[in-house]
Each structure stands twice: as C-alpha cells, then as structure tokens.
Symmetry: C2
Subunit: 461 residues, 2 copies
C-alpha cells in the first residue's frame, strides 16, 4: 500500500511516527556528504514532501545523484516538524529509483516562461503552476456537476456531430469519412456527401442548446457539460478552437429566476473551489495574480447588480469617462464599458433586455417589441462570464424572428416541436468553462488553462 | 416558488396539508361530470402526481379538456392517501394551462415501439422508459465523477481534435474548415491542408489515453470522461459513431491493482445508482429486462473471477460445449466463450495476459515474451465492459513493439517522453459509458441509451 502525499499532509497527526511508502517524482535533490534531502511530489498535493536520507542507506551514493524528474519509491518514517516550513518530513529507510531522468530534463527547478511551457504541454503539469491550474480545473468541473445534480438537474450528453446546419455552418468544422484525394462528385460537380457515412454533410457543433431545450421539456431542469468547437481563425488570449461549455436549461423559469440560478451557481462553484483548493488558489494569488483570493472572496459576499441594457447605456453616457467606443442604445457593450460597470457596482453585474438586432432568434421578444429577454453576466476583470436568455416560447413569434434573421426552419422543425407540444416559459444560459477557470486562477491566456489547447496553426499532441 | 414532484414524494409528511405550486406536463386526464384527475409529470420523478380537480374551479370545463402533453401550473393542497397506490395527491385550488398540446401529439399514453420512439428522439424522454434511462445515465455519470474525485483523481479534458495520426486515421473522422467545393491543391495534386485552420490535416479522436498518460505522470491518478468517435460503418445494436468513454490512468499501479480499481469502481457506480434511482431500476426490471435488479445486486456481492487468457482457453476447451468458434491460445475470446465464462464463475471475470499479437503496442510485454499485461473485464450478458492494461514503461521494448506493429514513432515522440523522464509502472483502462448504461438498464440497443444517437446514415437532430 502506498500513501498519497495529500493524505500525509491532511492527516499529519495520524501518520506521525508511522512508516509509509510514497511513490513520486523528484523535484529537487540537495545532497551533502553525510545526508541529503529529496523533495518528492506525487501530484496529489501541491506541496512536495521532504525526504531525508543519510549514509546509513546502502545506496546513499546512488541516491545523492538522483536527478530532477526521476521516479522514486520511498519507504520511511513520518516525523512532524512543526517548527519548520514543511511541517513534516520522511526519514528514509529505503529509496529505490523507479525511473531515471536525464540531465537535460526540460522541467528544471527554476522559472520557465509560459511560452516555453506551452511547447512542452505534455510536461508542464509537472510544474507547480500547472499542477495548481489543472487541479482547480478538475475540482471546478466537479463543483458544477455537484451543484446541478444536488438540485435534481439531469446531465444530458447532447450530440457533437450534427447535420442541423442552423447556427451557421461557417462557424462549424466539417467532418467526413471520405478520402480527400478521391472525393466522389455529383453530376453537377459538387462533392457527393450521400456517399459519406451519414449520407449527408456533417459538422461538429458549437452548442447543444437546441437539443438541451428538448430535454428540458421532459425533465424540467437539465444541463450539458461537454466540448465545443469554433472555427474562428483568431489568435487572441481568449479564443480557442476547442473548449468546454456548460449549458443549463430550465423549464418554467423566467429571466429573473435565471439570474438567481446563475448567481447561486457561480457562488457555489467559487466556495467549492476555495474550500478544496486553498493551496492552489494561494499559489495563483502569489505567483499569477496578486489579490486573486480577495477578489474571489469578495464576489461571494457581493449581491450581483441587475440592470437593463438601456440603464447601462445611460450610466455609461453619464460617466465622466472619455470612451473609445461611444455607448450605443442599439449596440453591444465594449470591454471598457464592462470594466466601468463592474467597478461602479463593486462586483458582478447582470445586464438584461438587449436590443433584439444584436441577439439570437430564440430569445424571448419583450413587450416593447424592441428588446429581447437576454442577459449577460459580466464580472470584474474577466468580462462576460455567462450569457443566457429566456427563450421565445410563442411559436408564431419565434417563426417570425427566424424569418427576420434568415434562419432556415426546415432543418430544425423538431426544435419547433418544443413550442407545439406543451411549450412553456423556459430559460437557459451558457458558460465557457475556460473563462471560468481563467477567472478562478487569474491566468490570462486560454492556452494555459486547457491541457492541450487547439488554436489556429496549433494542433500538437 | 414551485415545488418539484420529487420533493413531494420524498418528503410526503412534510408537505401534508400544505399548499404547493407544481409545474409540469399532463400525462393523462380522466374527466368526469363533477370532478376529474390529471396526472402531471414534471420530469423530476418517474412517478406522476395525481391532481384532483372538481367543478368548484371556475375553469372546470376547460380543464376537463386539457390534452395529453399540455404544460400546466397547479396550485393545490397536498393530501396523503396512504391506502392508495399513488400515496399522495393534490386537491387543486387552481389549474392554469401554460402550453397547449394538439390532438395528434405523438406521445400518447400507450405503448410505442422503440423504432417509433427513435424517430422522435426529441420527444421520447417524455415517456417513462426514456425518463428512467436518461436519469440513470445522468446519475451514473455523477457516480463516476464522485468515485474518482473522492479518491483524488484529476479529471483531465484531453483534446478531441488531433493531428497525431497514430491509432490509425482510418478509424477517425477527418475535420476541415476548407470549402469542399473549392479545395486548394498542392503541386502534386493532393489537397493542401497547409491552407486549413491548423496548417495540416486534423481528425477527431477515438481516445485520450496517450495524453492521459502524460498527465498521470504528473498527477499520479487521472481520468478522462468525454465523447469519442469512430467511423465504423456497422449497423449493430452495440455500435455508434459517437459515444462517451471514461479512461482512468494510474501511475505506480500494476495490473493487479488495476483490477482492484476496476472492480471497486464498478461496484461503487452500481451501489450509487441503485441507491439513487430505485424507481428507475425497478421500472427497467419490470418492463425492459426481468431480473435486472437481482443481477445488479448479485454483482455487488460477487468477487470477480481473475484468470489468464491461457487458463480461460483451457477451461473452454475442457467445457462440454460444441463451440461455434474453437477456443484458440492465440486468438480472441468469442461472445459464446464470454457467456460460458461468466456463468462458470457466477459473475464478472477478469481475463488477463493476452497474446501480444492481438493487442496494442503500448501494453506491457510480459516476461514470457508472448503475452502482454492486458486485462478485459467481462460481465454476465453484456460481455466486455472494460479493457485495460499495464503500460509498457520500458522505452526500448516499447519502440520495438511499435516497430513490429508499424506504429510511426515520429508523431508521438512527446508520448515517448513519459518513458524518458521519470517513467514508472503505470496502468489504465477504458470503459464505454453506453455499455455501462446498457448494463444498468437492460436496454439492448445502444441507440436507446444515447439522447441523439449517431449511426451510419443516421444523423438527425
């Protein structure tokens, strides 16, 4: 039986003076003439455990030369060292080399640039920073599942492959099983997709919302959590071509209840991660974004602001600021505006009732006939974190809006059935998971919160 | 505030005599002259709640005509009816029609064929069977996350888009952003993928194992849980082109510990689902597969058999059975053999140490130089549920095996780093999530455990 370093640290008293077996990787090795110190990390805990070895060990000479990155097995006695920084150490009775690591091992105990670490994405989780980020990512995913499952939501795996070319196939990857160098053609010289696996052209999708809505009309409350794809050819810090998204959808839920759920969920996830990853958050606070921890704690206490788009524009116009982009009743809200608004409200702000011209066809048309019941949640520094809406449940209005926005109704007639058969007020939102992780860690580049990021011209591993 | 039907039934005593508000869909409406009964299902609970209404309600006439599938809001008083089958009912004070449903609503209260329901995949979760199946699917997903997270595993989102053409690109969908009808070509008349988004040909993958291994070498224990794709053009009851898979990977873990984990995890998931979905399992036991519940309970008590492939073949050869396929030391184990073995062992059986010729390159070569440390778990009726192996951690042996099996080392040099830098004994397995759900529900066609299945010539919704 091996013991995890996490268990050792979290149950120190229990392990005091007992013998344990640890397997992990050498982070540092400081050898002196009579004794030495190995720092061993097993990935279960951000902190490494200090292993003290001395020349009573038969292979003392060998151990003295163990290199950074080597895999080792240590059997020894746990000694509490409350007066020291590391709180406990292991006095080694036996140390075995399981796997060597060469002199030129890329992850040396020094600061590496983020660019360098991106080039060794398969090795970077062996650094403290990425150990912290990817553990937070894992725990945050569990937080989301826990929030929804505890409240009876049904987790739905909506399909990624789709032929419903409704949200604009320009944004979707095409997929095929055809041989690119021997494509079949129809008589009018188009590629003949009837010969393809699905008998027609297929894509991988950017959203499971429409399918999610059909399940919400059966289960009441559902959520999706899965990968999503965009073909956007933009090299920015916040765009990736593959990312994960959460899309909850609630029947019998209007836009106000929607905001309640978004606020409660975000606070739940923050609390969950702060409770379970204190070392990881503290690390990010210290080395990634000073003030991070306070920012997250503050958000837990904040009551999120709630204003309409119109009110937001009025506030921005009155503000004593020279805007790069003039606030516009009919337009979007720029990054600089978001920043001002979150500062004005000392925290996150919901902006609702957006001009219908700049929002999607499925959003509920308000009584003013000018705005739709869409709502964006903007948070300090990260900007838009969630986007949602009450859905248009009236079939006639929905069809009219689809016509206005040139959305072809034929491909999604099944979706329209949600309005034909027991339709009801319902709402949903989408949250980009990476956006959340960037917010939770303070990491500013999306490439550094995805294990193996996919961006234009970049699809390694 | 609305109350969920699940809450009502699970906390009957608490709600007795109090007023509640319920939103849901009409499953049946039995109207008589003076009073009537609506069965309302809100998707939170397999059982519908019976709503009693009478002609004291102003809209009694209207309510009497509410059709199946309509969305309604009911305000009324909870009355316990312990002597009745339904245990409680709601005496309606007010019933409002939220969304109508036409006479020809497809989901009528009668038995529909599975084929018909597949054709209305967006409506079938409104039936008892699919409500049960998809809730079990959701709860089983949570069971898996809970098992691994409680034990400190890190959930890793391995990429779906890949250019690493290592497991045979024949099995992978190609993806592109190029315009099929205006493809760019190189001088030698091949499609010019340097013009594509990633600058080379890209695929969507069938496994995250290799990337998962790199993370196991940092975190110790990791798991993936995400969608997976196969281009297989086969129309069987157990194949789909898109399905979900779980791939855990553990450092410092050999094949025996691997089997321990697989057994423990499967029992954990079964227990979790049996505890949380008793009605759903009972429903499947009654209407899908008689004996299901006992089969699952039995598995919880069973100690899984553990034999080598060689021992399995010997057993099969000695068996008093006329095999369709002769048991073969060097070959695979057929369905009929699996069936015999699970019956022989009265439960699940691990079969390990397979002939290397029929297994993958990354599996640990055993000392006999003939077999690899691969292990399949076969379970009664469902056959192979998990497949795993100890991995070949010796770089030279691994390279030799890759050469034998014509696997190109260049594309996955990063993967080989796991053997160069602190390599160690490690193991992992894969479990098809749909296979598990079929096992848990007794449903025999994979199309009926996936919300919107993708199979050859079938990519609707």
């Amino acid at each position: 039986m091996k013991t995890k370093v996490r268990q050792l640290f979290l149950n120190k008293e229990e392990y005091a003076s007992s013998e344990v077996r640890i397997c992990g990787w050498v982070r540092t090795n400081r050898a002196q003439a009579q004794f030495g110190f190995l720092n061993v990390n097993d990935g279960s805990y951000l902190e490494s455990v200090q292993v003290v070895y001395d020349n009573n060990l038969a292979n003392f000479e060998e151990i003295s030369k163990f290199r950074v990155g080597s895999a080792v097995e240590v059997v020894g006695t746990v000694v509490l060292t409350p007066q020291m920084k590391q709180l406990l150490e292991i006095r080694a009775g036996q140390i075995v080399l399981l796997g060597d690591s060469p002199e030129n091992y890329p992850i040396q105990p020094k600061r590496h640039t983020m660019e360098f670490l991106r080039d060794v994405a398969h090795l970077r989780p062996r650094t403290n920073l990425f150990e912290a980020v990817f553990r937070i990512r894992s725990v945050a995913a569990m937080a989301i599942h826990t929030y929804f499952q505890d409240r009876g939501y049904v987790y739905v795996h909506t399909p990624l492959i789709t032929c419903a070319d409704c949200e604009g196939s320009d944004q979707m990857f095409k997929i095929t099983t055809l041989d690119f160098n021997h494509l079949p053609y129809t008589e009018d010289k188009k590629v003949d997709f009837s010969k393809d696996l699905f008998g027609k052209q297929a894509f991988i999708t950017g959203s499971g919302q429409l399918q999610g809505e059909t399940f919400a009309m059966a289960f009441g409350d559902i959520y999706t959590f899965g990968p999503t794809f965009r073909t956007e050819n933009s090299n920015t810090k916040i765009h990736a071509n593959e990312f994960w998204m959460i899309e909850p959808e609630m029947a019998f839920c209007d836009i106000d209840e929607l905001m309640d759920i978004e606020e409660e969920m975000l606070k739940f996830v923050l609390r969950y991660v702060l409770d379970r990853c204190p070392k990881e958050i503290a690390f990010c606070d210290r080395f990634v974004k000073p003030g991070l921890q306070k920012k997250l704690e503050d958000l837990l206490q904040a009551t999120f602001g709630r204003i309409t788009h119109k009110e937001a524009i009025e506030l921005l116009k009155k503000a004593p600021v020279r805007w790069e982009f003039a606030p516009d009743e009919n337009g979007d809200i720029a990054k600089e505006h978001e920043k001002y608004l979150t500062e004005y409200f000392h925290g996150p702000v919901f902006i609702k009732d957006w001009p219908k011209e700049i929002k999607a066809y499925y959003m509920k048309l308000n009584a003013d006939n000018k705005t739709v019941a869409a709502v964006d949640l903007i948070v300090p520094e990260a900007g838009e974190l969630m986007g949602g809406s009450q859905r248009e449940e009236n079939l006639d209005v929905l069809l009219e809006r689809m016509k206005e926005l040139h959305v072809d109704a034929r491909g999604i007639d099944w979706y329209l059935d949600t309005r034909r058969y027991g339709g009801c007020v319902h709402s949903g939102f989408g949250m980009g998971f990476e956006r959340l992780i960037m917010y939770l860690t303070g990491v500013e580049n999306i490439r550094d919160v995805i294990p193996f990021p996919r961006t234009p011209k970049n699809c390694e591993y």
